[in-house]
Symmetry: C2
Amino acid sequence: MITKISRNQYLSAFLQYLSHYSSEESERLPSLIELSQELGISVASIREQLEVARIMGLIEVRPRTGIQKLPYNFTKTLMTSVFYALENDKSAFEQISDLRKHLESAYWQEAASKLTDSDVGKLHEIIADAFHKLHRKPPQIPHEEHKRFHLLMYQKLNNPFVTGLLEAYWQAYEAMGLDVYADLQYLEQVWAFHLKTVEAIARGDIESGYKSFADHIDLISRRKQPSRASSFE
Amino acid sequence: MITKISRNQYLSAFLQYLSHYSSEESERLPSLIELSQELGISVASIREQLEVARIMGLIEVRPRTGIQKLPYNFTKTLMTSVFYALENDKSAFEQISDLRKHLESAYWQEAASKLTDSDVGKLHEIIADAFHKLHRKPPQIPHEEHKRFHLLMYQKLNNPFVTGLLEAYWQAYEAMGLDVYADLQYLEQVWAFHLKTVEAIARGDIESGYKSFADHIDLISRRKQPSRASSFE
DNA sequence: ACATATGATTAATCTGATTATTCCGACAAT
DNA sequence: ATTGTCGGAATAATCAGATTAATCATATGT
């Protein structure tokens, strides 16, 4: 085979090979030894590039099963870099949080206007679940609901880069240990805003929905650091 | 040594080691063989993790010089993922471009208000350079100026995640071959907006500066695809 | 002072051996 | 039929070591 795939100077041979590999479902890539022969690179070198693809969430690798291509994923790449940054500078979370606030704010109206009735129904369910958890005795932190609520809000943008950033934010949020933060009064307010927001969306009033949302974001910036020291587990 | 560094389940042993390595300048990490002994992992395995750190722009590796730690860099990580995404779906650039527009818009006022007089001076210089290039015979595309202008605008945010995203956008822009796009009339308009924007900032009128900027962004979305087919080289 | 050659150091690449996982199918027990 | 258990095959995971190539510092020559 003389024809060479056009070189993309930024991608390794394996990543190029992978990007052009037919992603027919349940199909898997050749074994490492075959790949080595096909690409003309030793197994050891391929494994170095393989590790990058794995970290980036582009493949799943298992003995016996081999290498499987996954749909494009922006989140995993972000997570690795973000967790590295947080590892010796926890204050970087403030910057990530700031980015997330601006992103959500900038996209809110477009995202909200694209939500279907079914989406709005799901949002209402999530809110109900959250209040249910909050009013239990003893109360529980509706973190999973909070995350699902926000991610669902921006799902219809259908922009993997935007949603990847938002997902990475929540991963970092959990890694910082903030998902067990338990100021119940604050959480009551948060979910009251969420309810107002969704009700506005439901009656097609994007403008006042945005206002409720903006108040919520405001709330976030006014919140002080939790007293509980956070750590990776 | 019994004490183990606390496990961060998302980071490889090498990335953890690297993140905690004193980043005294000009200092370099132990050689691969020494690292292998220190971490209790074979050289081949360390090299797999090393490759990830290299792709992420966290280290620089050369024979004889060895491994050097670099300051944290978000851009490189983004670029790898973005270029992979673009490799078999050029239309993803629209989504990246959309993300960039929203980000710049959301941060504009904060970024502009943090600019110093010196920054404004540099922006004026860039604008002058750009017009100089545009009015040459034959005219040149002031792409480098365009990129520097926008990145400088957001520099004072001091948020590596935001600036990383913006830098990655420009890298993608160039990779798509758009930096040679030559609608001179369009470019004249662009730089006229830039000039109005900076003049507003210079007299402290952030509000009308934002308006000029918003008009510029508007211009971008109205622009049609360039006829020239783009490709990686 | 400058260019050039030499040597030492380290990463880069490759090969091959061994080990560990995972999956699949066969067979048995319920 | 369903479930569970075991064994074997396929493949990645890990490792060790040899060889090659790149880079830098130093010495040497003009």
